[in-house]
Every structure is written in structure tokens, then in C-alpha cells.
């Protein structure tokens, strides 16, 4: 299985690091245990694909089949894609090339013209290697959907990526970061990183102490409070790695004296992520339902999605279509909308001078293109920071950072290098052009990617959530 080896020299000895067999490009997103590259899987794949093209796949059948059938291969999507651009315009990373890998199989096995005319119309019977290559290829796209925005026909190569991932998930091929260590852990333990109740409470205690030490103020952190107006659910990453964000939220809610609560794993799920969104409708709904049950159990008026982009897409948008209204007796709102509302109501006294450094804002794909939250964070940052500057392009045309669709937590093999050298390259150029010292973002995956990018490219800047910048600008009356 191990075909390539790299040698890394350490002070003591030469260490051989085995690399998995290359099946698509110079990288691997999935381990051999997951991909099982030597195991025949064509028949299972075709069976799963048949299912994906049937009414069983009712939520997405129209845009899925439309994109498979109506693409004229004009190539516009390629120039919209930051993986393609960042890679130096490598053909294999163009969105249309990736979709065409699936389209060839579709034509061969599921269309009359493909069966009759074969390669003349682009139909191809896949080899086992083609299937392996496709399995990896669909994990080179973050489903940022910038290509769909650019497509003159409104076709969606991002959706094709997701549909192909669904097919592979059906035959058991999903990155373990997303499935076993993501969704399954989350549903079993209440959070993907398996943070137990005691540890969670310790984290909150640390946050409380930090605020008291830094600001000299005492704060309350309500946990599992029933009947609260706002239940703020955060990404587990914000509790573990980017605690300043939770700290900011705690400080702001205390400042306002709002009726709110966080929730512990004891109430069900306290990690707002939903990795099912990235690879499976079934898992998407399983996690979504767990979130809904948790909010119902706490009998809250609003479920507030913290700084987590894909969670907002899942809870604010997909849940509306996939879970009947009577089964979700609460409103879903994003923390950005709520914070923006507080600022517009002039309930927060902010001093911009407390954030004097130039700040730019990264529109996360899931908050922006698929979420519609463009202006709220801008209004907030303009209220809290002295020097806010736009990144270009921005809003719906912003480039994905490269951490989307779970990539931020995928680092096997050389995958981190892939993230840095494709998406990352484009994003770093954008960042440099702003001259900002802080890149603010409202997505934990983006924060994870920025952490790596700043380190990899030695950028003279830092990343931040929006909440901590606002908290930092708060003015307390004596």
C-alpha cells in the first residue's frame, strides 16, 4: 500500500514517514482505512449513485440533475474557484473537471444518449481507480459555491461535490474527522471533541476568571437555564481553541443583563456544529434534530447560533425545510443579527479607540453566500473598531479561506499543505492587500484556517472573532 516515502531529518535519527498511495493528486484527505483504495467498490458506488438519482434524494434532485445535464462546460466556474486559481490553474482542480468526473459516470450508466453514443457524448464506464480518484477529488472543494454564483446558467458544482460526497458516505467513505470523530461523537457525547460536563464547566470557570482578571468585573454565566430568552450555542472550537469569542459573548450578555443561557452536554448537544451538512442528508438531519431537541428541552425563545457559519446554514435554513414548524417551537437567529440589533438599539456603549489597529472582515462562505449575513458584522465592526477596511473582493464574491466544509480540521498526510498552497494562497494575497493587522471572522473553521495561514505565511497580523473585538470596546460606567 505504501508507495511513496518522504524522509525527515531530526536531530537523532532519520525518520521515515509513510505516505498513502496517490489516487488523484499529490495529497490525500482520507486515510487508507477510510478510502480502502485496493478494495473494489465500483458496484456499490453505482448502486449508491442510482439511489442518489432517485426520488429517495428528494431534497436536492432538481439542482443535482440539472447541473449534471445542462452544463455546457463554458469554464466560467474555474475562474471563480480559489482552489483552481491558487493551484496555478491546474485542470484537475477546476470545478467543471471535478463535476465532469461524476458526469461521465452519470452519462454512461444513467442516460440513453450515454449508453448509445458512449464517449462521443462524454460517457465513461469508471474504473476502480476513477472511483478512488473521485472520492479524493470531492475533498478538494470546500463547497463554497462561488462557482455557482458565477455560473451563467445557475448550475451548482458545489452541490455536485456534496452529492458525490453523499454517494461515498453511503458506501462508508467519509473522512473520520467529519463522521466518526465528528457527528458520531457529537451525538454520543454532546460535542464532537467529547468534552465532558465537568471539563465544560471548568472551561466556563476559566472564562469567568479571565474576565474578572482582565476587566475587573464579575460576570455570571448561566448554564442549562430553562425558559431563558436566548440559548447561545457555540462551536466546540470556540470553547476549546478560540475561547476569547465565548468570553466576548459572556461579557456582552452580562453588560446587557439579558436573559440568556449557555448549555452543557447534559442537555443533549452543546456543540452547534453539524458536519452532516458536509457529506450526508441523513446525518445532517440527525444532528439538526439533536439541536432542536436540546432547545426544546430548555424551552427557550431563541436559539442563537454563535460564531459558526455552517451551523447557521443548517439551523436557520435547512431546518426550516426539513423539520416541520410545529417540531421547532423556537426562533433561530444568528449571534451577529442579535449583536447588531443590540448595537442599533444603542444598548452597548462602545469606544472604537480601544481597537485602534486596522481590522478587515472575512465573509465566511456559509455566513455570506449561503447565509445572507453580510451587513450585520460590518455594522458591528464599524461600531467597535477605529479602522475598519474592506477586503476585496468581498461579500458574495469573497474567496473561501480554505477551511470550509470541514477542511479546517483535516490535516492528514499533506492535506494541510494543500489547504495552504491552494485556497490559502489566494486568501493570503487578499489579506496582504488590506494592510490590516487583524482579520475578523465569525466562523470557527475560518479561524482554524487563519491560524494556520498566518503561521505558514508568517503574516504580520492576527485573527479574531467579532465578539471579542466588541467586548474589548465596551465602556463600563463607573
Amino acid at each position: 500500500m505504501v508507495e511513496e516515502r518522504t524522509i525527515e531529518k531530526t536531530e537523532e535519527k532519520v525518520v521515515e514517514i509513510p505516505k498513502w498511495r496517490r489516487v488523484f493528486d499529490d495529497y490525500r484527505a482520507m486515510s487508507d482505512e477510510i478510502l480502502r483504495p485496493d478494495e473494489p467498490k465500483k458496484e456499490k458506488f453505482l448502486e449508491a449513485m442510482k439511489k442518489s438519482l432517485s426520488k429517495q434524494n428528494w431534497p436536492f434532485l432538481l439542482p443535482y440533475k440539472l447541473t449534471l445535464e445542462a452544463c455546457t462546460k463554458c469554464g466560467t466556474c474555474a475562474e471563480a474557484c480559489s482552489t483552481y486559481i491558487g493551484s496555478g490553474r491546474k485542470k484537475i482542480y477546476s470545478p467543471v473537471y471535478r463535476s465532469d468526473m461524476l458526469r461521465k459516470i452519470y452519462k454512461k450508466h444513467f442516460t440513453l444518449t450515454g449508453k448509445l453514443f458512449g464517449s462521443l457524448v462524454g460517457a465513461k464506464d469508471p474504473t476502480e481507480e476513477d472511483i478512488n480518484a473521485l472520492a479524493e477529488a470531492v475533498y478538494r472543494c470546500t463547497v463554497c459555491r462561488r462557482c455557482a454564483l458565477a455560473c451563467p446558467f445557475g448550475l451548482d458544482n458545489g452541490l455536485i461535490t456534496r452529492e458525490a460526497r453523499k454517494i461515498f458516505a453511503d458506501i462508508g467513505i467519509v473522512p473520520d474527522e467529519l463522521k466518526e470523530n465528528g457527528v458520531e461523537n457529537q451525538l454520543k457525547y454532546g460535542s464532537a471533541p467529547k468534552v465532558p460536563y465537568e471539563a465544560f464547566m471548568d472551561i466556563l470557570e476559566f472564562i469567568k476568571e479571565d474576565i474578572e482578571e482582565e476587566k475587573g468585573i464579575e460576570v455570571e454565566i448561566p448554564v442549562d437555564k430553562k425558559g431563558a430568552k436566548y440559548l447561545i450555542m457555540n462551536n466546540a472550537g470556540d470553547y476549546l481553541a478560540f475561547t476569547e469569542t465565548v468570553q466576548g459573548i459572556v461579557e456582552i450578555m452580562n453588560y446587557l443583563g439579558e436573559d440568556w443561557t449557555l448549555n452543557s452536554p447534559r442537555t443533549g448537544v452543546n456543540d452547534v456544529v453539524n458536519y452532516g451538512l458536509f457529506y450526508s442528508d441523513e446525518d445532517l438531519v440527525r444532528v439538526m434534530k439533536a439541536h432542536v431537541e436540546t432547545a426544546k428541552k430548555l424551552d427557550v425563545e431563541y436559539l442563537v447560533v454563535g460564531e459558526c457559519g455552517h451551523a447557521y446554514d443548517a439551523l436557520a435554513h435547512f431546518a426550516k425545510d426539513l423539520i416541520p414548524p410545529e417540531e421547532r417551537p423556537f426562533k433561530v437567529i444568528s449571534w451577529m443579527e442579535l449583536l447588531d440589533q443590540f448595537i442599533r438599539e444603542k444598548r452597548l456603549k462602545l469606544d472604537k479607540e480601544k481597537n485602534p489597529e486596522p481590522v478587515t472582515f472575512h465573509d465566511s462562505c456559509k455566513w455570506g453566500r449561503t447565509g445572507g449575513i453580510y451587513e450585520e458584522p460590518r455594522r458591528i465592526l464599524q461600531a467597535a473598531c477605529k479602522d475598519f477596511r474592506e477586503m476585496y473582493p468581498n461579500r458574495e464574491w469573497n474567496y473561501c479561506c480554505g477551511g470550509g466544509s470541514g477542511f479546517a480540521i483535516m490535516t492528514k498526510d499533506d492535506f494541510l499543505k494543500f489547504r495552504m498552497e491552494t485556497y490559502g494562497k489566494v486568501k493570503v494575497e487578499q489579506l496582504k492587500q488590506t494592510g490590516a493587522k487583524i482579520v475578523a471572522t465569525i466562523c470557527s473553521n475560518c479561524k482554524g484556517q487563519f491560524r494556520e495561514l498566518i503561521n505558514y505565511y508568517k503574516l504580520d497580523m492576527r485573527f479574531s472573532g467579532v465578539s471579542e473585538l466588541v467586548a474589548n470596546a465596551l465602556v463600563y460606567e463607573d
Binding site: L61, L62, P63, A78, G154, G372
Partner: protein, 231 residues
Amino acid sequence: MAGELAWFIANILPYITLAVMTLALVYNFVKWLVIPRPVVWALFPAKHNTVDILIGIVKKIFVLPGPRKVDISVWILAMLFHIGLIISLSFHAKYILLPSLGPVEYYLGAAAGIAAAIGTIGFFIRRIDMAKTKVDSTFADYFALILLMATLTIGAYLRIGGIMDHEHMWLWVRGILTLSPVDPPTHPIFLVHITLAQIYMMYLPFKTLIHPIAILFGQKVVLDERHIYPR
């Protein structure tokens, strides 16, 4: 034999073309219409009502904001091709009602035909280049473009060369429309032009060339109403 072939191309094939194209377009339209779409995965800024969605679709079709933003070469070629084609077809339609050919029709029609032809030639060259940089094209992709290129180039040549007897052509068109066919014009270049045009029209609703219909559904998918706060 040549006369029979000309009769078939000019007086029988148009009805076959119309039938095939209409049925296939209706089939395709209904096919997409009946597929349920319970989940909306819109792209923002999305539209909030049907009127806005329709305006958005029209803008997307005629202004092509996506290609203009990310790939200006596609945008220029598409504009040349589509505007040229629309003007050409408009003059064809106008000619059926008013069989005259003034200087405006002559020069503008010729320019539109040339622009559309240049657009297709550009797309053809681009397609060859894309095999190295973006994606492979199939025989079917090239076939569609070759058909278009040939039809438009020959059409522009017919217009510029002033080859046709317009009185005769109008009688032929009127004969087809009134289901009373008359002897058609038999200039071989004209017959090639209308043969290619009809093959293209029959081919249009199939495969990827369904995009005139797909665009309605596709753009609706990405522009559709989304969930407005408060939910």
C-alpha cells in the same frame, strides 16, 4: 433528384423541425417542472418575492454578471454571440412580416451575423484551449459549436453577398406559414444554411444545449426566496 431534396429541405423539414423542437422543449420544461424541490439552497443576496426573482433571472440571462465578474473573455464571447444571434433572429422574424431589406437591415443584420459567428469561433478556440486548462470537451460539444459556426458564417455570407432573391424567399416563407408550400429558393448555399439551422434547432433541446430552459430553473434555484429574519 436535386429538386426533390430542395423541396424536402425547404418545405418538409421545417415542419419536422418545428414538431421535434416543440415537443422536446415541452418535454424538457415539464421534466424539470415536475421534479419537487422542497429544499432551497439559495445563494445570497437572494430575492424575496416572485417579481424580484423574475427580474433577477432576466438580468442574469441578459447581462451575465457572473462571467463578467470572473472571466471577461467568456462574457465578451457570450455577448457577441447572444446579441448577434438575437438581432439576426429578430431580422429573420421581421422579414417574415415585412419582406423588405433596407440599409439598416442590411448593415446591422450583416454585423449581427458576423458578431454571432465571431462569438462561436471564439468559443470553439476557447474549447480547444480548455482541454489543457479546465476540462475536456466531447465530440457532442464540438458538434454543436461547429453547427452554429457554419450556420452563422454562411448566414452572414448570404446577407453580405446579397445572393438571395428576396421576393422569391418571401413567397417561400409565406407558403410554409400558410401550409401552402411553393417552389423554394434553390441556391445551394441557402439550402445548406437552412439545413444546418434546422438540424441545430432539432438538436437544441437535447443534451447540454437545453440551457435556454435550464437557465430558468437553475437561476431560480440560486435566486430563490430565503428565510428572512425573524424566522
